[in-house]
Symmetry: C2
Subunit: 445 residues, 2 copies
């Protein structure tokens, strides 16, 4: 990864001890650049920078760091008082995110020093991966009896300085969400009209416990820049913004990729080796148990192999090709399920297509391996055996690669868990059964 | 996938022939719901619905369909005149997307009937996966000499009715982008001040040929809701909005998942079986070539296997475990590279961690297989062989799974192409070399 010039020059200034130059240049940097600077430093340097920067920039830099654990450690290392001053400068949802990762003791030590902890405390109640954990309580709210002029005044007084997009939420006098005012409607209405007369319905809303994946799905599906979060009685609690959702989408995609690769979805990309072992070893043990299945098939056919050792050469070829064809079908199907691309009632069609693709690819590769077998002088019958085993295994691979995730989805199990581990074991077993079974039947009798 | 009640009731109304009821309910539906209705219908029903709906809703439904090819076919099937009326009602960027997928003849047939084709023509010039292909030309623009009051008036006159977030772009009198006005600043400024005095710098901007992945990266990195697109002289051409970028992120993630599974990145998830074969067969042939490598290793050791057929039972176990451990390391590393999670100068650390994880998991699984071998009565020496082969193969798997994608990234090759195909072949070869080589040395001599 190449380093941006601004990031590099900030690092150079800091390391050459030119703190004054560093601070001057940091003022012009974007939060993401400051986050990158932090990521390239070691723990003690990070603390030094976090102390040197103005509180607001320190907060931005910590929020922007891609390694959350490093950011949390740095915050704690600042000591409760300095940390609280930095937290004071953070938007409430970011403050809750970073504080939520600390031990309860560290959290409390900092929060007791924070000027106004009400909003952060409210957000800390919610699970990290829920709408409540994602939302901010900072928003522009007016009552439905307010006039257009009053609503514009509310934007002036309630919104943040650098807020880029603003919806005005409309509530009744008990705080229940009744509508939303797009800015354009607000600017084009008569100044004296009450907002209740020209607001839009706020039909799409979620409760605070809704999973973040569902939140992302709703916002992308309905192209919302702000999704209101309401309690069970419809009282407005906060809003989720689209930029938070992009990070959720990235996070969910990371999880899907990891699960697909047989890694626990909660393994942090920056996990230590110890955590990585803890996350992956259980899956490898599962795989070992299933691998013994494939081994057992070979065990049954030991006599067949002993009579014709050349079969051992074809074993990894037939099994490996099945595994890869199965992984292809699996990747496409898991992804289709993830983005809701399989219309209702069309599952059979999807599985059928993958079976057909497997069959055709099996024929194409079967001919190739049969030719090689014959050219190597292994005889027409072995050629026929490897041809049939390849066709059969790739057909089964297409079937399993598509069907397994669809069935899991129906059972409300995350289909990405049907990782390559299961499909490759499945195709190993089928491949050996076909190759060795057919050979035992055709070659030896 | 469960169908939303509204989508189901629309389908029921349409299929029972109650077109009036269908149209009444469709007015209340969101575009995404209409898109789902279309996706559940067959070609001729889709055309019927597209004709029955008001032009504006037809356009929204076609844009919202997840299968772009189906949407394009439906548009063409409407005939040029009706199609043009539907296109007239689409935002220019969506119109360009759907028209861009047609044959040049169909495209021209429709465009000659379109009322004002200037904007769509301009957008069609750019590649589909570039900033130009993603941007809209609809925006609010004022000159830097305008007053705050004039800028608010520009929002009234230039923005779309249902636009949710608005930035005002500021240009000089030759159309060069000079700044951006966040709405909050606009509303809080003195009415008579010129916008040049209180606008923000528009430092982050891209050219129309910049790849969409880079666009998404910039917008998420800097939390932008609108990214201005400018030509080489800095003249404002359009803007990319955050909701487009979410779809890009989803698309890029689909591509990464497919490549990781050994499928061409340009295979549509809804590809026909013929296109799927075309996309996957070349990869399977590549895999076949590499699988012959693994076969060749076994070929060399045929004599060893002939003397001790039990080795054939352990072959898939050692090779399969290596493949899965390698896929784990690969999934984590590919994902880290995709989201820029490996700080500069830390590559060696990443590879080192994966090697250590592989070694420890190798020890844990090696002990397990050695125990099984001894308990099955295969003797201590075979136990030692499978132990060493497992440790060695998982160590190599960690090394290859992390190093291969990092090296590819350095060479400017997409690291996701280091798909499971290559890593599993690599671990097959190493696994067989270790298992059969050690066995030949320890068991037979």
């Amino acid at each position: 990864m190449s380093v941006r010039p601004l990031v590099q020059s900030l690092l150079d200034l800091f390391r050459s001890g030119n703190i004054k130059g560093f601070l001057a240049r940091a003022q012009q940097a974007e939060p993401a650049d400051l986050g990158d600077v932090m990521a390239s430093l070691d723990e003690s340097e990070r603390v030094e920078v976090a102390r040197a920067l103005p509180r607001r920039l320190s907060g931005q830099a910590l929020i922007a760091m891609s390694d959350e654990e490093d950011a949390e450690e740095t915050l704690v290392a600042l000591g409760p008082e300095d940390a609280a001053e930095v937290v004071d400068q953070m938007p409430d949802d970011d403050a809750a995110d970073i504080l939520g990762g600390l031990t309860p003791e560290d959290q409390e030590r900092i929060l007791t020093q924070v000027e106004d902890r009400t909003d952060v405390d409210a957000l800390l109640k919610y699970g990290e991966d829920t709408a409540g954990g994602l939302m901010t309580t900072q928003m522009v709210v007016v009552q439905s009896t307010a006039t257009a002029v009053e609503a514009i005044e509310a934007i002036r007084s309630q919104s943040e300085e650098d807020e880029e997009f603003i919806d005005v939420f409309v509530t009744d006098d008990h705080g229940h969400l009744v509508g939303i005012l797009p800015i354009k409607r607000l600017l084009t209405s008569q100044p004296g009209r009450t907002v209740g007369q020209f607001m839009e319905e706020a039909a799409i809303r979620v409760g605070p416990d809704v999973d973040q994946e569902e939140v992302a799905h709703q916002m992308t599906r309905y192209n919302l820049s702000n999704l209101p979060v309401v309690d069970s009685s419809g009282r407005l609690l906060g809003r989720v913004t689209l930029d938070d959702v992009i990070h959720v989408v990235e996070e969910e995609n990371t999880e899907d990729m990891l699960k697909f690769g047989g890694v626990s979805a909660d393994e942090e990309l920056t996990a230590s080796w110890g955590d990585a072992v803890k996350s992956r070893l259980p899956w490898l043990y599962v795989n070992l148990a299933t691998a013994f299945l494939a081994g057992a098939v070979v065990y049954v056919y030991q006599a067949t192999i002993a009579r014709n050792v050349a079969l051992a050469v074809w074993m990894p070829i037939i099994a490996g090709m099945g595994g890869n064809a199965g992984t292809q079908a699996l990747a496409v199907t898991v992804r289709r399920l993830a983005i809701g691309n399989i219309p209702a009632g069309r599952s059979a069609e999807v599985v059928g297509k993958e079976m057909l693709v497997g069959l055709i690819n099996g024929l194409a590769n079967g001919v190739a391996v049969a030719l090689v077998a014959v050219l190597l002088g292994e005889g027409a019958i072995l050629g026929l055996v490897v041809f049939l085993a390849m066709v059969g295994n790739l057909f089964v691979a297409g079937f399993a690669g598509a069907l397994i995730p669809i069935v899991l989805e129906r059972l409300d199990i995350d289909p990405a868990v049907a990782s390559s581990i299961f499909v490759t074991t499945f195709t190993d077993v089928c491949g050996f059964l076909l190759l060795l079974g057919l050979a035992g039947w055709l070659l030896i009798h």
